[in-house]
């Protein structure tokens, strides 16, 4: 076995390790939401993902998420909040609001209809 073969194998293994870390193990810091007029409002850009995708809000205060989809890809056409039974169609370029008041602490995940794009609201 020569060095280049070993090198390729090591690189391959490293790449696998990196994929596992980058896509599965990496945990992001959430975006803390500021309160405007008693409402925790945050704009979210939808383009290949939700930006920001982790939103930290306070319990018991109304939350307004303003989604703006900036792509025509069908995947992100819909945003679904399964846990609180809300969903909205996101027409390209328009701002669509999702409003709710989180009653208890925990996580409220949201995603596109196919589950490829994900985000969550962390209630504290």
């Amino acid at each position: 076995m020569n060095t280049s073969v070993i090198l390729v194998n090591v690189l391959g293994a490293a790449l696998i390790a990196w994929i596992v870390w980058y896509f599965w193990l990496y945990r992001k810091e959430g975006v803390q939401v500021a309160e405007v007029a008693g409402v925790q409002e945050v704009p979210i850009t939808v383009k290949g993902g939700y930006d920001p995708d982790v939103i930290v809000v306070k319990q018991g205060k109304p939350v307004r998420l303003l989604f703006n989809r900036q792509e025509s890809s069908m995947c992100s056409e819909m945003v679904v909040f399964d846990k609180i039974d809300k969903s909205a169609k996101l027409p390209e370029g328009e701002t669509v609001a999702i409003e709710f008041t989180p009653a208890e602490a925990g996580e409220i995940p949201f995603q596109c209809q196919m589950g490829m794009l994900r985000g969550k609201v962390v209630v504290r």
Partner: protein, 917 residues
């Protein structure tokens, strides 16, 4: 316009903040106010203060309770208000120049300073001012002035109107524009002579179409109704799909036109497939090399034009630590390109024989996947056809009475309270109540009920249904987004966007899918590199690329949502509104169906069924006297006798000396004869011998009917019986349900005997009788034991707790009350066949979703290993990346097409109606 589609969760009771209209939980409201005995809840202290400011505590406000909800109920000017019906008016003004949220407060302040304005709220995000004012004191013009003085501007809405005949002089353009600008409230008018249309910008709420029409007509032209408004989501959506399709097709042709020649110069080792061999028998090495270089250059625009979305999508996902189909395709095509380029320029880097370029993979795979996406977009558009069909039902114009004149106006301008005229064959424009005239209305498009329904004054009519032969006038009760049709559309859209529980499993899988495929690709590469035959590196690259390309996460993720959209749409076509994916999935698993008796199996209203005269009296006389005697009574049983007598063509007279004896019956004098109608106690009270008719009474009671004794001049004259009769199609619907393997149970508060009688007639074996209303939920709970899924069918109001307790609650609606809170499934028609249909359609949908899902899983779990080359050691079989690209495109199209099959679903429950007539 805010197009949020939200749904209340059925358990949490939320209220609306009367100031900003936000939905909040009363328990967590930031502030509350009590006015006129009504408690209002606010999302924030600020809203509460504004409420205080708008309506000072001490101010006399007799209309508080009416005025308060106005900003919430009436969302826009087009939703409609009628000044004649309400003394404060609500408008929505779009604001321009709001640059900060504190500006909202300024605008609110100046608006509230206008005399006559009672409430003003500015929504900064949407740039709208919501104003409630007294039209006798101020008008929109004054408010606009105030806003302008404060340094902001008021936006306008737009209307597009087609002008006929065709415009042919430039000066006409000026005339029309000038005429329009003179209309109060019009801010801008632009005529486009090329399309013969005029675009009018106007202040919302101040201008109506007739005024604009009049202005155009004053110039000698005719104005057609406004063209499709820009905020018609259905049109928007299909237009967007069409644009997307065309765009993708352009990309496909570009990739295909380059891809084919690239493929034809990619395999010099296959002489019959190598293009230059057509011109020369032996191709010099240098030409082969140059053709490769040319291919490499030509493939670049394919990657960056046709395949652009793969790279942008992959990058966007990557930034979010996510990976999707784009990632796989981008990796696959670019890996092929980079390998090829290195191979032709630095062949020395590779072991002998492995330096073969394959640019064709990049071009052809891009072409195929883009084609797949285009076809998918097209097919997806068909899946949601049902909802477009629903939206297309909306009438475009309405004939209303305005100032005593009959005018035709666009349906958007009909106000609540307007009197609408409907001619034979007309489409009914909005929801309302008939005030004059009679007709039969075909409501099949909304309720699924196939026979036209008779309508008389006082009856409700539903917008979008079609009048048959009669003419009538009705008063509009609901317009715009409050109509039954608009609510159905919203409910269906919401349901289509929801998730079936089965899809949650899929979500977990899709989160791991793409990175797993990438890891498999690397492992494949290493396996071939280490253990593969020579040229190992070439094999390693090709197999890794094939693995990346063949995997199809889209097919996995789309299967369930697409079937759901098709299934929910199919239900809506037959007046069955399924609330969400969970309701649909649970409905498909039901084993037991509990039917409430009154109003569900039966009509819920007693009707006269039998008239049995005693010897010596004829039936008509008996019924005429009994009917006349009962005429003043308000008791439902008495009314049933009166109605029955009338409908058999008998002329009833007003009784003299009428006395209702509570718990007994009535004692009257009719045409000079003493007539007593009532129960046995009434007969005993007058010591009347009833032995002659006792047998009939017992027989009728055995049939579940309520029998009433009639005595004339102190002698038993006969028996009249009333009963709650069974709906025409209940028997058939129950038979269909039993045929589907469901256990049908009847639940009623009625006595055992009546219940059994009805059950026998409809063919139900299991009866739960004498159940108190508050115990119904408990009974449903008992039936659920043993893990069987139980569906409960009821009227949605009295049966609400039982509907919630059941796994699936079906509410039998009556036309307009669409969104019945407690129900998982609402049946627009009163027919039980809707229940059978709902279960059938949900079973078909879930079956379809499983097929799609199973197909996609099988495809991936077979396709990926084959692409990796597991069959190579045994059969020498290796997949070309080109085949992988085609397979991947085909698999996602297959899933979409499979979901589309649901559109042709035929249910037994409705097929039988047509079969039996």
């Amino acid at each position: 316009m805010n197009r949020t589609m939200e749904r209340d969760t059925k358990t949490a009771a939320t209220v609306l903040d009367p100031v900003c209209g936000m939905e909040i939980d009363p328990a967590s409201a930031a502030a509350t106010r009590v006015r006129g005995g009504v408690t209002y809840y606010f999302c924030s202290q600020q809203c509460a203060e504004q409420f205080d400011g708008a309506q000072p505590e001490g101010a006399p406000s007799k209309k508080d309770s009416q005025r308060q909800p106005a900003p919430v109920l009436v969302q826009s000017a087009t939703t409609g208000y009628n000044p004649a019906l309400r003394d404060s008016v609500y408008v929505e003004l779009s604001l321009i120049g709001l640059s900060c949220s504190s500006c909202s407060t300024t605008v609110e302040r100046v608006l509230l300073a206008v005399p006559g304005v009672s409430a003003a709220h500015v929504n900064y995000t949407l740039g709208k001012a919501h104003v409630t004012y007294d039209p006798t004191q101020t008008d929109v013009g004054a408010m606009i002035e105030a806003i302008k003085r404060a340094g902001y501007n008021v936006g306008a809405d737009e209307m597009h109107i087609r002008i006929t005949p065709s415009l042919h002089c430039a000066s006409c353009v000026g005339f029309i524009e000038d005429a329009l600008r003179q209309v109060a409230g019009v801010t801008e008018a632009t005529v486009n002579p090329g399309t013969d249309t005029v675009q009018v910008r106007y202040v919302v709420g101040q201008v109506d179409f007739p005024a604009i029409k009049q202005a155009i007509e004053s110039t000698g032209y005719q104005a057609a109704r406004p063209l499709a408004q820009k905020d018609e989501p259905a049109d928007d959506e299909s237009a967007a799909h069409e644009r997307e399709y065309k765009h993708l097709m352009r990309k496909f042709w570009f990739a295909a036109i380059i891809g084919v020649p690239v493929m034809l110069v990619a395999y010099p080792e296959l002489p019959w497939f190598y293009l230059p061999n057509l011109f020369m028998p032996t191709v010099p090495e240098s030409l082969v090399w140059w053709l490769f270089v040319l291919s490499g250059v030509a493939t670049l625009p394919v990657m960056f034009y046709s395949g652009r979305q793969f790279f942008t999508g992959a990058w966007a996902a990557f930034k979010h630590h996510a990976a999707d189909m784009n990632t796989l395709i981008a990796l696959g095509t670019s890996a092929a390109w980079i390998y090829s380029t290195v191979a032709i320029f630095f062949p020395a880097l590779f072991p002998e024989g492995t330096a073969t370029p394959f640019y064709d993979v990049t071009a052809v795979v891009t072409a195929l996947v883009v084609l797949g996406q285009a076809l998918e977009v097209r097919a997806k558009g068909q899946t949601s056809q049902a909802i477009r069909k629903l939206m297309g039902l909306q009438a475009k114009t309405a004939r209303v009475l305005r100032a005593g004149q009959e005018v035709e106006i666009p349906v958007e301008e009909v106000l609540v309270g307007d009197v609408v005229l409907v001619r034979p064959g007309d489409k009914i424009p909005v929801d309302g109540e008939i005030i004059e005239g009679r007709s039969a209305v075909d409501e099949s498009m909304v309720t699924g009920e196939s026979l036209p329904v008779d309508k008389a004054p006082g009856d409700a009519v539903i917008g979008a249904t079609v009048n048959t032969t009669g003419a009538f006038k009705f008063q509009a009760t609901k317009v715009g987004k409050d109509t039954a049709l608009a609510q159905i559309v919203k409910l269906v859209q919401d349901a289509m966007g929801s998730k079936a529980p089965i899809a949650r499993l899929v979500d977990v899988v899709s989160g791991y899918f793409v990175p797993t495929v990438m890891i498999i690709a690397i492992l494949t590469f290493l396996a071939w590199f280490n253990f593969g035959p020579s040229p190992a590196l070439a094999y390693a690259v090709v197999t890794a690329v094939t693995v990346l390309i063949i995997a199809c996460p889209c097919a996995v993720g789309m299967a369930v949502p697409l079937s759901l959209v098709a299934g929910v749409g199919k239900g809506a076509e037959h007046g069955v509104l399924i609330r969400n994916g969970e309701a649909l999935q649970t409905a498909s698993q039901l084993k037991v169906i509990v039917l409430d008796k009154t109003g569900t199996i039966t009509k819920g209203k007693p009707e006269l069924t039998d008239t049995v005269p005693a010897p010596g009296i004829d039936a008509a006389t008996l019924l005429r006297l009994a009917g006349s005697a009962d005429r003043p009574s308000e008791h439902p049983l008495a009314q049933a006798i009166v109605d029955g007598a009338r409908s058999s063509g008998l002329e009833l007279v007003e009784p003299s000396d009428f006395e209702a004896v509570p718990g007994h019956g009535v004692e009257t004098i009719v045409e000079g004869r003493q007539v007593w109608v009532g129960n046995r106690k009434l007969m005993q009270r007058h010591k009347i011998d009833v032995s002659a008719i006792e047998g009939d009474v017992e027989r009728l009671q055995g049939e579940g009917k309520t029998a009433m004794y009639v005595a004339i001049d102190g002698k038993a004259a006969g028996v009249v019986a009333v009963a709650d009769t069974i709906k025409e199609d209940s028997v058939e619907a129950i038979r269909v349900m039993q045929g589907m393997g469901l256990e049908v149970v009847m639940l009623t508060g009625d006595n055992e005997r009546t219940a059994q009688a009805i059950a026998r007639q409809v063919g139900i074996d299991r009866v739960l009788a004498e159940v108190l209303p508050e115990d119904k939920a408990q009974e449903v709970h008992m039936l659920k034991q043993g893990g069987r899924k139980v569906g409960m069918v009821g009227d949605g109001i009295n049966d609400a707790p039982a509907l919630v307790e059941a796994n699936v609650g079906f509410a039998i609606g009556t036309g307009t009350d669409v969104a019945i809170e407690a129900a998982d499934i609402t049946l627009m028609s009163g027919s039980l066949k809707g229940v059978a249909y709902a279960i059938e359609v949900s079973r078909a949908t879930m079956g379809n979703a499983r097929q799609g899902l199973f197909g996609a899983f099988i495809y991936n779990s077979i396709g990926v290993p084959i692409a990796a080359g597991v069959l190579f050691p045994f059969f020498g079989l290796l997949l070309s990346p080109l085949i992988a690209g085609a397979a991947m495109a085909a698999s996602s199209i297959t899933v979409v097409t499979n979901a589309n099959r649901l559109r042709f679903f035929k249910a037994r429950s409705f097929a039988q109606t047509t079969g039996n007539g």
